[in-house]
């Protein structure tokens, strides 16, 4: 541990560092590990990785962050909503002592929330249909 009285020259002085036997031993181990990586040009990849990471940071702008965050919110929001619905529906079904009869299933449609949910499913079908309202372009 360096004392507060040491200045930056003391800390970075290699001679001082190498007088510590533990540090010397660690450095030897590190060089032994690095040697084959240097010989095989594998350490270069680490430098390349740092370079590419720096590039990504510099290439990213506010617009990209805005779009990525929007995508993140949509994905997480969708998954969260779907998860809640599945959990609630599962809970209700598990509490049923008997499976509902066909007639009682139909009667659940009296519930306006069920009808709203069914309407949602049908609207989804319409959206899917709209996405597919043009035939696939012809391959040439």
């Amino acid at each position: 541990m360096n004392t507060q009285n040491e200045n930056i020259e003391d800390i970075t002085n290699t001679n001082n560092l190498l007088t510590n036997p533990d540090a010397q031993e660690g450095l030897v181990e590190l060089i032994q590990k690095l040697e084959p990586l240097l010989a095989g040009r594998r350490l270069n990849r680490i430098v390349d990785l740092m370079s590419v990471t720096a590039d990504v940071v510099d290439m990213t702008d506010d617009y990209m962050i805005e779009k990525l965050c929007k995508s993140y919110e949509e994905v997480i929001g969708g998954a969260w909503t779907a998860g809640n619905i599945v959990r609630m529906a599962g809970n209700e079904v598990r509490q049923m002592e008997e499976p509902p009869t066909l007639w009682s299933l139909l009667k659940t449609a009296k519930d306006p929330e069920v009808r709203r949910g069914l309407a949602f499913m049908l609207m989804m079908a319409r959206g899917i249909g709209k996405q597919m309202n043009q035939p696939l372009p012809e391959y040439d």
Binding site: R45, D48, K70, Q134
Partner: protein, 396 residues
């Protein structure tokens, strides 16, 4: 009253803008106050930069295209039709089907077209990689050449300070060519000569349109034994003798003439009468900050059709598109524009078949070239095969 936004062009600029508009204006769209339509002359969306890879047998046609509808949010009204004329005074466009489409806001993203016919003999004797069919034809030649001379030329628009299509593409393809011929084992029998015209935007007698990159190119070329010349502005080509002539008085023989050809805007844009570009090239006079077309109300332009000094490439669209989206949204909501384009262009250059080099620049700073590496190449390949489609969908 419902505001109608009409986006013209199903390339990357139009597609990402239409998707982003829906995302940005969803509160208005969900209340039926705004409608977004996209007009394209093709049911397919092509990843145009991949045409370059077709020339090196790295992409098949169905890998570089998707049905346009599959890339659009369902709220977008997608129409396949070709714009024949713009009627700016009436706020509408007329299409080849005879139908008219009205708008309150218009976004023009109709790209540009290679025009090798604008140089005598180039269409007959030259090859390029900026469209699928020519790239495929070039691939046949590059795959079979056993000896000879491949001559690379770059042709700028005559409108001052407007670049050719995808600024880095000639360097990318020259390096890819070197790698391909080495792989084929014929590199020692095929000479590659890279040339650049005397006038390249604001620079003179260089090998690239930006100074820093220009200075590192000789070393890169010499390491690969690629010959290079500056000051070769293609004047005409003799297809029979296979000789390329320059305005500077040089003549060079070739077996393959790999050219970055002249370019122009699409017919409807040229015929709109708005362009002030030279040589009937058709670039629209663009406010370099707001991306509006000068002299027109609520008309914006992006991508290859602008007359700005930035690269005609998807990497420019990616930074221009959000500015237009923000400006349309703020005009609808606040009655004024709120965003400015700073000239930013972002890309990953393919430096040979394996390596890549991320790059970016803007109005005030040039590209700072870094050593290309395999990781950069993997980034570019990942973009080509996957990330691009997320960009088109407006997710990135």
């Amino acid at each position: 009253m419902k505001k109608r936004i009409l986006v013209i062009g199903g390339g990357i600029g139009g597609t990402m803008t239409a998707n982003h508009l829906v995302s940005k204006l969803y509160p208005e769209i969900s209340r039926n106050k705004v409608e977004v339509s996209l007009l394209s002359n093709s049911p397919w969306h092509y990843y145009k930069p991949a045409f370059m890879y077709v020339a090196f047998n790295k992409f098949f046609k169905d890998e570089l295209r998707r049905p346009q509808q599959s890339l659009l949010r369902p709220e977008i009204n997608f129409i396949v039709d070709e714009v024949e004329s713009f009627e700016f005074n009436a706020n509408r466009v007329r299409c080849s089907s005879g139908k008219f489409y009205d708008y309150d806001y218009l976004v023009i993203s109709t790209g540009c077209l290679p025009a090798p016919e604008r140089i005598e003999g180039l269409k007959e004797a030259g090859d390029h990689f900026y469209q699928y069919a020519p790239a495929k034809a070039l691939a046949e030649k590059l795959t079979t050449i056993k000896k000879g001379r491949i001559f690379v030329t770059v042709n700028f628009p005559q409108t001052p300070n407007v670049p050719h299509q995808c600024g880095i593409a000639p360097i990318e393809t020259t390096l890819m060519l070197d790698d391909l011929l080495r792989k084929r084992g014929v590199r020692d029998k095929v000479e590659i000569v890279y040339t650049y015209p005397t006038v390249s935007q604001l620079l003179r007698n260089c090998l690239f349109m930006q100074k820093d990159t220009c200075e590192v190119l000789p070393t890169i070329f010499e390491q690969r034994d690629i010959k290079y010349q500056h000051g070769f502005s293609l004047s005409h080509v003799d297809p029979d003798k296979k000789i390329a002539y320059s305005h500077e008085g040089k003549e060079e023989n070739f077996d393959i003439l790999m050219a970055t050809p002249p370019i122009r805007a699409v017919d409807a844009v040229i015929n709109s009468g708005v362009s002030q570009a030279q040589n009937n090239e058709g670039w629209l006079p663009t406010d370099h900050e707001t991306m509006e077309v000068y002299g027109l109300n609520n008309v914006f332009v992006l991508g290859d059709t602008v007359d700005l000094p930035v690269s005609k490439a998807g990497g420019s669209c990616h930074s221009q598109s959000p500015v237009i989206v923000n400006n349309i949204a703020s005009h609808i909501r606040l009655g004024r524009l709120c965003d400015q384009y700073d000239g930013r262009v972002v890309a990953i250059a393919q430096m040979g078949l394996e390596d890549g080099m991320p790059l970016w620049y803007d109005y005030s700073s040039d590209v700072q070239p870094t050593p290309p590496n395999k990781l950069g190449g993997l980034m570019r390949k990942s973009f080509n095969r996957g990330v691009y489609w997320s960009v088109a969908r407006g997710l990135v």
